[in-house]
Symmetry: C2
Subunit: 475 residues, 2 copies
């Protein structure tokens, strides 16, 4: 066990003061200089205290005026998913809005797709995977004739476990299950630890697919505010965890949150894990984008900070390696046996062929080289698209600057409508994701998510200019 560093002790001290009302919303926070004097700490410690409180969402920096205590983001109310009536043929449930957006897109002819979180196919190492696939087919004549084991190919699980060590997560291959993508992994995690009617918390905004999964499992969704700066607001979460409603599980995307692109600071990760363990809330980690973080050192996972076997780790190769193969995995600790049995009853073991091909590639050094190249490419693509958005979109538009991945989260001035933009853009063959589908509340009706998976081109530039013009028409 590590001792709590000084800056955290001080941050906790101030959090207590805010909680108890000693420091009130709108009040000016002690200046850096004052803190240094009062607590006899260094400049860097004082600065870290402020940053920590900002991450918590309780401090607001006003330019040239100092730091102020702010009202932590308003907590959205609990949204109860209503199970769809079962006797009608028409489809009604599962986050109606998401499904209407997805259906509308399917009907349209899409020329430029900013709604995808995938990379363009040519960025994936498809030729290499193809060769590994052919080799695997030739090597084992019976490959297609034998049902694979429920847990998945052990060689691949070993490779994944070894790679997890770089993010300091201690996963064992024997307690891992290969799944049909992170989607199935998260389904299994939720089915293992919840009952229909339970409440599950998510970040707000969050990936709409998670909202759909929760609704389809008849779970109640509770949204916890999150920021592009540091992800989930821990202050808000603490308050919710103390409320009488029991939160059975919490799904968090700690590294490159979708859509925020946020990366949780290590201290927040540690605190989040601790909070959940203290309150008996199972923490489900969605690490779909972890490998796309464009930093020298891999970042820690939530699983790394988990001393009490309370974090279920879910991940995927669909965004980083091969969308066509649908491979993901889950490491469920003490729930492993239950997850494995649920996997058996839900879909049985995944196809062996794809697991062999992916494993053969991932165990070579080219895999890491490929990832590094991909990250650089994506960083460039994000920068180019971000620049174009600044150029073409209305003044007052804010764009996130995530440290990796394919996604930008764009905040338009408040009076713009993302849904209107979505509908108008679709008419001219441009697909975007309106902010509305990332929450069961209306909080993001003036946000859009823009995918940067494709190399910049005149066509993309033209499409972004078109989006800008469509927004101009909204005024």
């Amino acid at each position: 066990m590590h001792t709590t560093p000084l800056y955290r002790q001080l941050a906790n001290h101030y959090l207590d003061a805010i909680r108890s009302g000693t420091l009130k919303t709108g009040e000016r926070f002690p200046s850096i200089r004052l803190m240094m004097e009062k607590h006899a700490v260094s400049l860097s410690t004082a600065v870290q205290v402020c940053r920590e409180l900002e991450d918590y969402g309780v401090l607001e920096a006003r330019p040239r005026s100092g730091n102020y205590i702010r009202q932590p983001d308003t907590l959205p109310k609990t949204v109860v998913s209503t199970p769809p009536p079962l006797d009608t043929g028409a489809y009604l449930g599962i986050h109606e809005q998401v499904s209407s957006v997805l259906k509308a897109s399917q009907r349209a002819t899409i020329k430029v797709n900013f709604a995808s979180a995938y990379c363009a196919p040519e960025l994936y190492p498809l030729k290499i995977l193809q060769e590994h696939m052919i080799k695997a087919l030739r090597q084992d004549q019976h490959l297609l004739g034998v049902q694979g084991s429920t847990g998945g190919n052990l060689a691949l699980r070993n490779i994944l476990a070894r790679r997890a060590l770089t993010t300091k997560a201690n996963l064992t291959a024997e307690k891992m299950v290969i799944t049909n993508g992170a989607t199935e992994a998260i389904n299994l995690a939720l089915r293992a630890v919840t009952q229909p009617g339970d409440t599950v918390a998510v970040e707000s905004p969050t990936f709409y697919g998670l909202l759909q999964i929760l609704e389809s499992l008849n779970l109640r969704v509770l949204e916890v505010p999150a920021t592009a700066h540091s992800g989930i607001n821990l202050f808000a979460l603490e308050q919710l965890l103390q409320s009488p409603e029991r939160i059975r599980a919490l799904i968090v995307i700690p590294n490159l949150q979708n859509p925020l692109g946020s990366i949780m600071p290590d201290a927040n990760k540690a605190r989040l894990v601790q909070l959940c363990a203290e309150h008996g809330t199972v923490l489900i980690e969605d690490d779909t984008y972890g490998d796309l973080v464009d930093t020298e050192q891999p970042l820690s996972t939530l699983k790394h900070w988990d001393c009490s076997d309370n974090v279920i780790y879910c991940a995927s190769l669909n965004k980083t390696l091969a969308p066509g193969l649908r491979l993901g995995w889950i490491s469920a600790g003490k729930w492993h046996e239950r997850v494995e049995m649920l996997k058996h009853t839900q879909t049985r073991g995944c196809e062996t062929l794809s697991q062999l091909a992916v494993g053969a590639f991932m165990k070579t050094p080219s895999y890491e080289r490929y990832l590094r190249r991909l990250r650089k490419t994506l960083t460039q693509q994000r920068q180019q698209i971000s620049a174009a958005i600044t150029r073409y979109f209305p003044p007052g538009t804010c764009v996130t600057d995530p440290r990796g991945g394919t996604l930008l989260w764009v905040e338009l001035p408040r009076h713009y409508s993302a849904m209107a933009l979505f509908r108008e853009a679709l008419k001219v063959g441009i697909q975007i994701s309106p902010g509305d589908i990332f929450s069961n509340t209306q909080r993001f009706d003036h946000f859009v998510r823009i995918g940067c998976g494709a190399p910049y081109s005149p066509k993309i530039d033209e499409a972004l200019a078109t989006l800008g013009r469509l927004l101009e028409n909204q005024r």
Copy 2:
């Protein structure tokens, strides 16, 4: 609409008499001659009436003595699945017995496996599939780089819909979803039409995988007696449907039931579909083995008799074509949209590559030729194993004689224990399926299911002789 044929009218007349108590259990049934006179019908009609009532399970033929009214099989009580406690790490739920049997088998070193329902790998057209796979990979460089659609590859769906016409089922490709095997198809069907706590009926005995699925979805299981002769006992089902407990859905394997090997007569299929529609019970058809029926003409599916869009059709290629590919499909009629959305939230679309390879093979005439050859081979293998069982097992053992497939259902004299045989056999590397796992009741504790997927060999012969010796030791 067809008018009810004469023999059915008469059969209904007698069923009413039995129901009302006019004809009592143990009473002698009118002879064929008497029926012919009394109702002025032909010999063949009178015989059909008796066969119909036998299929219903209410008539028993005693050699040289005539037909007698029999007590329809005792109805097993409702078994309520208890949801496993969620906070412990240990695995407890989902049909504990099945899971302990499966786990024991996984730990053992298996030399001869009679527990599998698959064919031996060498019986599948693996070389051809492999070539189609390599061709598909080479043809589309981006295949592995793009996520397939949720519903599945449309070309494959078209082929499956066209083939379904031979079993007279009218499935449309647009209303079909490709799944990860029949397992996922049945999960989706159940999730689409039930709520946790609902009651779902199955045949008794039935494939243990279905019992596991039902338990994992927190559904109550009601077992309806079925016979190797004609499958589900419709008389018993009618009684259950009239009881106050609402039966939300019924899962039936009409052709080559697992483990019974039964094939439902057309009249029973029609009646079953009608009964379910009348009582608002959704009929889920599991057609996993339909293509393995060894008859000249393909048999009808339940879906064929479905005029009111109340049958959900589920099938699989895992037993007939390639266990390694995990492909199945579902045609859910008016529930199609809901099933498709659940598929999206559960696992998203299946891998495109395997769908292309399978589709490329299935659209050639070699596919039908391959199936015909496979059926003949399996018939021979079943006959050889059946003969050996008769040779080696204790006197009084009965073996089914199914018209296709890989499975024999073996009834030992009542005092033998299938579980004891299972445990003893495992010690010497032989795996069987004890009857106990095919029901939540104890009714099949002296049955074993023997898989005949592998070509007969001295090793198999020796293993069957060993099973015989182990049974001898039980006396």
